[in-house]
Homo-oligomer: 583 residues x 2
């Protein structure tokens, strides 16, 4: 045995024991004739002591230890002179009788401490060293614990985890597929799954009743800041359920996780339909840790001579509580914020509801104080509040005001990472119109069922058809989404038709699923939660990158192993492909 | 709510309850004015009754139900007239008051019964229907339960599950990689992992101490009967351990699974070194459900004038107990068996130890009965036993006799699928010589550590160097294997050198790992168990195919979804590749 204990478990109860420990040198210091070494492993830190008076040679070896050396020591557990009660092992130390260096270490390229001096690039290249740091390792331990709890909860709810294939078939729908040339079937390719969607539906047709899988999925998209080409999904599907059953079970999952992982009992888990979310927050993933709902004020401001408002389809306000104190400069910053190209507004109107009860706005020449007061009243504003108003076309203006709402909340500290406000957004539209391809796209995916009561509008006004589709949102992040599925082959064929598939294309791509519908397909529905995102919210992180052990950079490269890389001609020939770069 | 209960839970305790159930029509029968329908879901079967006297129209609808129709019924739980105590719900039935067909079903192409009339091809094409059959679905439920128990055990043993990347780097070592062209890095490719080997070693260098993952791995090999291009591994790695620690922990895992899944308490879990396994069973994965060890008899049979034995490097026997009754025809069958091209022996010698104590052999003209008796005694044979002898070059003869040993055991019913005999085979050779490539191959993989005491022979007689490598074998199947790893960059470099890598090649492929060794790499080792194989053993199946939800056929095709398939030119162009079939 290389060790009798880990570095995190010895205490006063072990005084006098002969122990053997292994670990990394965190740091060491000399004090008179003594050397103290902090030895680290995953479980904690234990202090080692070496005394010249006891063994001069041994102490001399201890002084030669460098940071991150891997060592093995034997010794006796003794009580510490100066205790550190913040550490589990802080009341004891090991009086070392034998020291062996198992492996020396070069000086790491950055500090292995909670706060490091290493930049992102160097830490990705030496990811195995970055993973030694407590905050990074703790994220992955959190991830492990969450996965265990998810499986425990779903197992208790009668879900069965089934592994679906990774080598599947390329489909033109959705994002770009990663493909894999088949050596045994020259000229043909597998695709990596963007999700196990069709397989989980087939499992329902097979009578599995409740399926889940924590599973890697793949999308060959241009990588934005917080996207990874491979990501992990908690993928679920249920039979003989309605939307309400699914929302209840997965609200239960999230409550279970918050309770068992963070000791947090969630208050509400409200439901809001898509139309309300857009109307009240300008977003299908509103952050409801704070209120600041939209107030539509067309009828209060139009036809008073202010042409910007008069010609606007929508005039809409938010009440920034206690922000009347904002200076001219701060207000200018907000105006600059909404005018940034990625937001694209033309301007911002404010009404300052002063503490003395007076009202002052940037459009004073068009509105009386009484008219301003009417707006303030509608916005439930009190003296000391600041009302911010935007105007224009409905969809665009809502989106812009939504960004401003979040900006104010950031400035006012209303987005505390230890406050958690989950929410279901329901009744998403079935379709959206895509200008570029000049056809309808499925807002969720082509297998989502229209609401039965909206079926009649499928031919006449498809864009007003709502789906039995829902998203789970936590703190303004979309954590997942799902829907009740089509389980009738005629409805599915109609849907493919609306999405611009010819019957032949639909048959070629999804014939197996349409066939399956004819052999006794039950009503079913499901959900997929983004596991990376969920863990990052629990970890209080903005990015998913630090909850992934070996992430790729924004160019899709793993800079540690230097992948992707070229492969040799022989391999290409075997696969019946050739590289042909674009000019 | 679509249902109040499943089809597996109602009993006499529920008499009189108004319930709503959903499921598939298993079968129905008419009896006088009544129709009885067996409705099935994952949880069981519930009997529905329809009575013309109560509601003639309803009963008429029930008579129109076809097999596999999906239905929903409301009704009252009543006591059955003729009870079926073999079924959980066999004492009750549902007197139906409302029947809705949720989806009709075409007649399935094969019977959805425990014993089906469908051939393998049609069942793969309609896999979603095959998965409705109890034996197939139960295999996947077993798989789920085993995965849950594995995670529970490893979590309790302080292992952390960490997801390693699926898009990694191609390496020339080992089997062929599946590769994935990178759109963002034209001309470059990711590879799918054959195992997460280097990543798990990096996690040890990162201080994760104990890692596991139930993970998909990929090998682009020509598919033999029981291989799949994607398969699932229980992948584990541990720090600060010796071989003994690893064997103990994973013996514990297997014991835990047998106890908690099958209620079986394993007797022994013996260890045998590779040399003994080859000497006593001619195999590195001996089936020890039965004994029938090899007995080397060179000294008893040579120089007696039988040239076949005289010139043989090895003469070796097994004692087939109670097989003296084998007829001439049976003995001929055995001879034919060993002469088959895939075994390739030239002949088989037998000694029949008759019940009357006389001995009779196929080589009577060279040996006296006394000499035969000496062989029988050495083989511990008793009257009624049959001794079978093969001779030739050591390795080849052992392999041939090993096949014969299994054949005898099959004939004699010694390989009961409900008997479980696990075994560790240890001390594998580090290297083997590959005639084809004219160089050494790593027997396990290039990261396996030589035994410290054999290090001195690395330069002089590399083939006699043993590794700290071990396989887990159950009932003659290799369930997994692992090793203590190299953690020193010089030893690793020496190993790559032995395997024929130039320093530049080693650097290009594994530079990141060699670098990592210089920053404080701890001693570590691990194991990977084949999850598909393990489940198939628990399920009593010979093939892994039926413990995989959606397996591929022997040509690597998924015949259900018709994959792999061609992709369009636009996709190929984006990926900077072209198809170029060999002529």
């Amino acid at each position: 045995m290389l060790r009798t204990h880990t570095c995190g478990e010895l205490s006063l109860a072990d005084l006098g024991k002969e122990v053997k420990l292994c670990g990394w040198v965190q740091k060491s210091r000399d004090l008179g004739g003594m050397t103290f070494v902090d030895m680290r492993d995953r479980f904690g830190i234990t202090q080692l002591t070496f005394n010249t008076d006891d063994d001069a040679a041994l102490r001399a070896s201890a002084r030669e230890l460098g940071r991150e050396y891997v060592i093995q020591v034997s010794g006796t557990v003794i009580e510490r002179a100066s205790k550190n009660l913040k550490m589990a092992t802080g009341e004891i130390e090991i009086k070392v009788s034998q020291l062996d260096v198992l492996n020396p270490a070069k000086l790491p390229p950055f500090l292995i401490e909670d706060e490091t001096d290493g930049g992102e690039d160097i830490r990705l290249k030496y990811r195995y060293l970055d993973l030694r740091r407590n905050p990074v390792r703790n994220n992955l331990i959190l991830r492990h614990k969450m996965a265990q709890e998810i499986r425990k909860y779903l197992d208790a709810e009668n879900f069965i985890e089934v592994e679906t294939p990774v080598l599947i078939k390329s489909t033109p729908e959705g994002a770009r597929d990663f493909v894999v040339p088949s050596r045994m079937n020259p000229g043909e390719f597998y695709a990596l799954p963007q999700s196990p969607q069709t397989f989980k539906q087939l499992l329902m047709i097979s009578g599995f009743d409740r399926y889940f899988q924590i599973v890697k999925c793949f999308r060959d998209e241009d990588l934005r800041a917080d996207r990874q080409p491979e990501f992990t999904q908690i993928d679920c599907e249920l039979t003989f359920v309605e939307q309400e059953d699914i929302l209840n079970i997965f609200e239960g999952l999230v409550r279970h996780l918050f309770k068992n992982i963070k000791g947090v009992v969630l208050n509400g888990f409200p439901r809001m339909d898509y139309a309300d979310a857009m109307r009240l927050y300008g977003s299908d993933k509103p952050d409801i840790r704070f209120d600041m709902k939209f107030i539509e004020i067309n009828e209060l401001v139009q036809e008073k001579g202010f042409s910007v408002f008069d010609k606007a389809e929508l005039v809409v306000a938010i009440n920034a509580q206690n922000c009347a104190v904002y200076t001219r400069k701060q207000l200018d910053e907000l105006t600059d914020f909404v005018k940034r190209p990625q937001i694209g507004a033309t301007g911002l109107v404010y009404i300052r509801y002063n503490v003395d009860g007076s009202l002052k706005s940037s459009v004073d020449k068009f509105y009386t104080e009484e008219q301003l007061k009417a707006i303030a009243d509608k916005a439930d504003a009190k003296p000391g509040d600041l009302i911010l108003i935007m105007a224009g076309a409905v969809d665009k203006t809502r989106k812009q005001l939504s960004e401003l709402r979040l900006e104010i909340a950031n400035r006012e500290g209303l987005r505390n990472k230890e406050t958690f406000a989950p929410l279901w957004v329901t009744d998403f539209p079935l379709l959206e119109w895509d200008e570029e391809s000049n056809r309808y796209h499925a807002m969720h995916h082509p297998f989502t069922a229209p609401k039965p009561e909206d079926m009649v509008k499928l031919d006449t006004e498809p864009l007003s058809v709502r789906a039995n589709a829902y998203d789970m949102v936590i703190n303004g992040s979309e954590v997942g989404g799902g829907s009740i599925r089509i389980f009738n082959q005629d409805v599915q064929a109609r849907m493919f038709d609306l999405l611009g598939f010819t019957p032949e294309e639909a048959r070629k791509q999804f014939g197996f699923l349409m066939d399956a519908f004819t052999y006794g397909a039950p009503p079913h529905g499901g959900i997929a939660l983004g596991f990376d995102r969920l863990v990052s919210i629990f970890a209080g992180l903005d990015s998913i990158r630090d909850v992934i052990a070996f992430p790729k950079n924004n160019a899709g490269r793993d800079v540690m192993i230097d992948s992707p890389s070229t492969i040799d001609e022989k391999q290409l020939t075997e696969l019946s492909i050739q590289v042909k770069k674009k000019d």
